[in-house]
């Protein structure tokens, strides 16, 4: 896979989705952990200032899709752990479905048409 030098900016709203998916897959995680995971999955194709995750986490918490709790990390450090909530899971499912549909439609448009 070719590594592009130009990184994509994070589309607004996608960050929320990424956070939800991460928490849904990995369970309870602190802010740093979420940021690292997103970095890994996107394979450095994403231009993300890690710090921006924190306002996003606040938004998600305000909307009720994740919840937070202070705990102790692996290295005995105090950290805030986030987990996805049930409404969060529902939201995740809805958005996943949405994205899949959108990208299907877009791909169909962007591929050269093969017959009728």
């Amino acid at each position: 896979m070719e590594q592009h030098q130009r990184k994509n900016e994070v589309l607004p709203g996608t960050l929320n989705l990424m956070v939800l998916k991460t928490l849904s897959t990995l369970g309870s995680l602190h802010g740093y952990g979420i940021a690292r995971r997103i970095e890994q999955i996107s394979g450095n194709l994403l231009q993300l200032n890690q710090g921006t995750i924190y306002p996003a986490l606040l938004s998600l918490e305000q909307m009720g899709w994740i919840s937070s709790k202070w705990g102790v990390s692996e290295n005995n450090r105090r950290a805030k752990y986030y987990s996805i909530t049930r409404p969060g899971r529902k939201q995740l499912a809805a958005e996943e479905e949405n994205w899949r549909r959108t990208s299907e439609i877009m791909i169909r448009f962007l591929e050269p048409s093969e017959g009728a």
């Binding site: 602190h30 921006t52 306002p55 305000q62 450090r77 950290a79």
Partner: protein
């Protein structure tokens, strides 16, 4: 739903600011440390690790900002900021701010209070259905007459037979009913102690409540069953009776009360406000007309009210009644000869006709309006001045980057802050003002219906606040214009602009002073009037006089039907009663002298009764109240007031005997009728002769007491204080007793102390006699002056307000002028002017303005003077002394207002002022 969650989170965030910040700090620190560790593990050096971590994280401050924005409600914060800044700005000039707030509050509060009272008592119509379809049906002594406004009193009421005739024959009305007013004695069925009360009652014919279109609030109105003679007796009571006498008892329906000694069951309570202005009744009783009564077409007594049928106009109905009148004349000539039927719209009954009261209120309303106007002008003035002073501040802020919108928002917030404070205070003042007004107006009907009038408040508030906002924003709009250079140079004021502002301010001040003058003059006139009223010679000493009014129950002592003659039961019982009362009261310790009288001095109207002087030729003039004299062929020579008094009356009140003798034991029902007259009567009717020994006949019921004058007594004021003396005659109650009476007692000590003892004694004489209020004579006199007192109080208040406001306005304008002219004054002082000269200069300006205002104000006061004449007594509305006094007072106030800024001007350090380029 989510939006609501977000909102609440953010709201909470406002209060948990510090905690959230701390937590974020910790999180970020944690994050960075973890990243650094990872970097270290990957083999980077400590420094590189740190740098890489920070790079990857991004801008910490930006993250914090973004977080902050999301964690709280941004707009609330900037609003709060604006408010704080605004408050600080307002506090920097506390006097100004206070002046504006007070002005707004006073204008709004006073206006609202007065208007609420006016609305509640006078304007608001009583709760009848379609009141303009209601008419009173009256009898007139000439056929073909139509109603004209003001002629109500020339028509009369109708006999029971006549009522039924009208009812049967008319087609124009949906329903017709009738009522008769009399006073009744109400007591509790089960009490052995006295809980008796004297109340006004209406006996009503069928369909009374339906005609008025009012339903009972509790229970029911009368049905046809209630009107049969065998039906159980029922009564409906008024709302205020239920509330105050029966304590809003929820079990009132079905309760038994005694009306004139007979048990009645309460079946309904009327809603508040149901009453007729002319016949204030608190109970309603169904009246059954016997067959005889229905055939009685003689006499009167019944007031008929009707509701027009839908589609029938007033004139159509009147035409029908004319036809009916003609029919009745043909059918019953001896009763209905030339009698007509007139329809009178019921509106006079249905709203409060308060006589002179109305005029007073209108005057007050105008006064308040004037004050409101002055208040608005003042607010405008003050704001304008303040704005001009702040031009520099705003220019500076604009230069430093504040957008026009921001500046406008800032000023708007300030104005709103002022408006809110002023309005809030105004609300408080208004509500309290209403309470004070109700206290002052005790005795005026419909008082319990007074509610704080929100419409008035809203209107007044809107007007004042609009003025405030307008003049608050004008400078904002100007300041936001990019004429910054102009604003910033030359000591911070553009010359042309400031001149304009000065001129505006001057105009406004002149206006305020001019508006305040009529109020001051009015107050001065009213105060003088009041003082003169109080200094009137009463003809007797009012101190230590106790009065108690006594209602002798008709059901026990007999009713005076007009056919009473000496020897009638009702006369005999009363004569005996009054004699006993006088004797026993005179024997009480602490009583100097006691008497019985049918009228109280000062309180009564003249109530003229015609007299026919024996042996005198008829005169050309027409007099009223001579109908019965004329019917019996006696010439009418004039009218007098009739008093029926016990023999100790004159001694008790303190009247002097001028000639002849007073009443004594000799004058009884069996001896010839005697009478005493007062000096005014003697002078008027027997100017050149000795009245003692002469006799005359009174126009008094169907029996003519011709009485001989046995003496002349001194004059006392029987009518209201501002009315002239009236010819009065006195008949002894041992020959002509009254139905009810007043006890008048001259006490040795304070009169109030004796009231209980007197009542006890009366209770021993007869337990069934109910009580009216016990009042001192001084209290009675003060009571008649309540209207004058109210005027004085209110007008004085408004005048003071107006003067204060004008002074405040003047102060504002002068302050501004001084601050504008700092350099000029500094220059003058540097060139040798003394402090005194500077002061004189400044004050001189102020005086000039004041004089112009005063001159205009005097003209205005003069022009408006005729409106106040109705409230004045023995003071001309153009009394020059008052005008001069008011002008001087206002001038002095203005002088003080100018003095303070002038002093400030004189203290200006010339060097500093000059340096203020």
């Amino acid at each position: 739903m989510t939006r609501l969650r977000i909102f609440f989170h953010r709201l909470l965030g406002l209060f948990l600011k510090r905690k959230l910040e701390r937590e974020l700090e910790e999180e970020i620190r944690s994050h960075l440390e973890m990243q650094i560790e990872d970097n270290l593990r990957q083999g980077m050096s400590l420094e590189d690790s740190r740098r890489a971590a920070r790079l990857k994280f991004g801008g910490v401050e930006q993250v914090k900002e973004a977080y902050r924005d999301k964690s709280r409600l941004g707009w609330i914060e900037s609003l709060w900021q604006d408010l704080r800044y605004g408050a600080r700005a307002l506090l920097r000039r506390p006097i100004f701010t206070l002046a504006i707030i007070l002005t707004l509050a006073l204008g709004i509060g006073a206006n609202t209070a007065i208007f609420s009272v006016f609305n509640g008592i006078v304007l608001k119509p009583l709760p009848y259905k379609d009141p303009n379809r209601l008419v009173n049906v009256r009898r007139s002594d000439k056929r073909g007459i139509r109603y004209q406004p003001g002629t109500e009193s020339s028509f009369g009421n109708i006999s029971p037979g006549g009522f039924h005739d009208w009812r049967e024959r008319s087609q124009s009305f949906e329903s017709l009913s009738a009522h008769r007013y009399n006073s009744t004695i109400l007591s509790d069925a089960n009490s052995t102690t006295q809980r008796t009360m004297y109340v006004g009652g209406l006996r009503v014919a069928t369909r009374f409540f339906e005609t008025y279109g009012v339903n009972a609030q509790l229970g029911r109105t009368f049905t046809d069953q209630d009107y049969s003679p065998e039906a159980p007796k029922v009564v409906i009571i008024s709302h205020d009776l239920w509330r105050y006498h029966y304590g809003a008892d929820s079990q009132i329906i079905g309760r038994t009360v005694l009306i004139d000694g007979l048990p009645h069951t309460v079946v309904g309570v009327m809603p508040p406000g149901f009453w007729l202005a002319k016949w204030p009744s608190r109970i309603w009783i169904p009246y059954f007309f016997s067959a005889e009564e229905k055939a009685t077409r003689k006499g009167g007594g019944w007031n008929v009210v009707a509701r027009l049928r839908p589609g029938v106009s007033f004139d159509q109905a009147q035409n029908e009644m004319d036809l009916i009148a003609a029919q009745l004349e043909a059918d019953y000539p001896e009763n209905n000869r030339n009698k007509g039927i007139v329809l009178v719209p019921s509106s006079a009954d249905l709203t409060m006709s308060l006589g002179g009261f109305e005029r007073l209120f209108l005057l007050l309303l105008c006064a308040v309006g004037l004050v409101l106007l002055i208040a608005c002008v003042n607010v405008a003035n003050l704001l304008l001045v303040r704005a001009a002073e702040r031009e520099r501040e705003f220019a500076l802020r604009a230069v430093l980057g504040a957008s026009r919108g921001r500046l406008l928002r800032q000023l708007l917030t300030e104005s709103l802050l002022l408006a809110a404070l002023g309005g809030g205070l105004g609300l408080l003042l208004g509500a309290n003002g209403m309470r004070a007004a109700t206290a002052l107006l005790s005795g005026v009907p419909r008082l319990d219906e007074l509610r704080f009038d929100w419409h008035a408040f809203a209107f007044t508030a809107a007007v004042s606040l609009a003025a405030g906002l307008l003049f608050g924003l004008v400078p904002a709009i100007r300041a936001a214009r990019p004429d910054l250079q102009e604003a910033l140079k030359e000591g911070g004021r553009g010359a042309a602009a400031s001149r304009r502002v000065r001129r505006m301010g001057n105009l406004l001040v002149v206006g305020e002073v001019a508006l305040a003058m009529p109020l001051l003059v009015g107050a001065g006139l009213i105060v003088q009037s009041f003082i003169r009223l109080q200094l009137i010679d009463l003809g007797f000493a009012p101190s230590r006089l106790l009065t108690i009014n006594v209602n002798v129950p008709d059901y026990k002592y007999g009713r005076n039907t007009g056919a009473s003659r000496p020897g009638s039961q009702e006369f005999v019982t009363r004569i005996k009663l009054y004699r006993e009362v006088e004797e026993r009261l005179n024997g009480l310790p602490g009583v100097e002298s006691a008497a019985v009288s049918d009228r109280l001095p000062v309180e009564h109207g003249p109530e003229p009764t015609g007299i026919s002087i024996d042996g005198r030729a008829p005169v050309a003039d027409e007099f009223e109240d001579c109908a019965e004299l004329r019917q019996n062929g006696l010439p009418c020579h004039g009218a007098v007031g009739v008093n029926r008094v016990s023999k100790d009356y004159f001694r008790t009140v303190g009247m002097r005997l001028i000639r002849g003798r007073l009443f004594d034991e000799r004058d009884t029902a069996d001896t010839p009728d005697v009478v005493l007259i007062n000096e005014t009567a003697a002078r008027k009717y027997w100017p050149d002769e000795d009245p003692v020994g002469k006799s005359f006949t009174l126009n008094f019921s169907s029996w003519f007491p011709k009485a001989e004058i046995i003496g002349v007594v001194s004059d006392i004021k029987t009518n209201e204080l501002n009315m002239p003396l009236y010819p009065e005659i006195y008949r002894p109650d041992s020959q002509l007793p009254s139905d009810d009476c007043f006890l008048i007692i001259r006490t040795k000590a304070a009169p109030e102390m004796l009231a209980a003892a007197v009542r006890e004694e009366m209770g021993r004489i007869d337990r069934d006699i109910p009580w009216g209020a016990a009042r001192t004579m001084e209290g009675v006199i003060a009571g008649t002056l309540w209207r004058a007192r109210l005027s004085v109080w209110l007008f004085g208040l408004f005048a003071a307000l107006a003067a204060a406001l004008a002074a405040a306005g003047l102060y504002g304008v002068m302050s501004y002028a001084v601050s504008q002219r700092r350099q000029e004054l500094g220059l003058r002082m540097a060139l040798g002017a003394e402090a005194g000269d500077v002061m004189r200069l400044v004050v001189g300006e102020g005086i000039k303005l004041t004089f112009v205002g005063l001159a205009l104000g005097l003209i205005a006061a003069f022009a408006l003077s005729r409106f106040i004449v109705s409230q004045l007594f023995w003071v001309a509305a153009t009394d020059p002394l008052t005008y001069a006094g008011a002008a001087m007072l206002l001038a002095m106030v203005a002088l003080i207002a100018c003095y303070l800024p002038a002093q400030r001007a004189a203290k200006v350090d010339p060097l500093r002022a000059l340096r203020h380029e």
